[in-house]
Symmetry: C2
Subunit: 141 residues, 2 copies
């Protein structure tokens, strides 16, 4: 067990949520624009209190994440426990050569073997995490 | 490989997307209310062209999913391939005893071992799925 608790659900502290964010590489980013909500699976890297992602030029993701509010989620499930961390924050595309060079040095991988020119950084504003003890539903009397 | 293709990304047909939805049990539901977007990890079951989920009474999920537009996502990743299916649709809480009995008979499990009294059914309006051949990024010349 990553976190031990008697209740079915444990609300995680920010520090516990970051532990999970840092050891995971795969999540989903949720964007809302013009009343339309979209969700994209994405590889990411948690570094220095930020989330870093990459996107191909011209994708919806790249277009929408310029100064947009985003929601990011990652989770994990095993036979007896599960967890989920949600980050709400602001995304921006890295612009300066120095920022991009730093981001490249972190070695973030993408899902798709094409050239990926945009680095997107999500600055967290709110983080929430939950850890679940999995188990059978109690009998109903 | 679940789907063979030469390009990095294959846009899946509805039928291919349903294959993936039906063999998976764990996804995320995205809700937007009053300008606030939330995402919840959830177990689900694809049955008869619908997605079925369960939620505890009094949760945000149960409150928000009465006749709300929702986005649902599930994905999978292995060493050399990945996929994601997104369903946009309308959620409603099952009300009639007959509907609830049918839903119970499907044996949908929840993450948390407490009594779960609400069944939520998502009627898909749009489905999109993508399959990715994973690989290294090509060299940049």
């Amino acid at each position: 067990m990553m976190f031990t608790h008697d209740d079915p659900i444990l609300e995680l502290t920010d520090s516990q949520s970051w532990q999970l964010l840092e050891k995971t590489q795969h999540g989903r980013i949720v964007l809302t624009a013009a009343g339309e909500t979209d969700i994209f699976p994405i590889n990411y890297l948690a570094s220095n209190g930020m989330l870093l992602m990459r996107s191909a030029p011209g994708t919806k993701l790249a277009e929408l994440t310029i100064n947009e509010k985003v929601v990011f989620e990652t989770d994990g499930i095993s036979s007896d426990e599960a967890w989920s961390v949600v980050v709400k924050g602001t995304a921006r595309i890295l612009q300066s050569g120095e920022e991009i060079a730093k981001a490249e040095a972190l070695g973030l991988k993408t899902w798709v073997p094409t050239l990926k020119d945009f680095y997107i950084e999500v600055k967290p504003e709110r983080i929430s995490g939950r850890h679940f003890n999995l188990g059978e539903q109690p009998e109903r009397f």
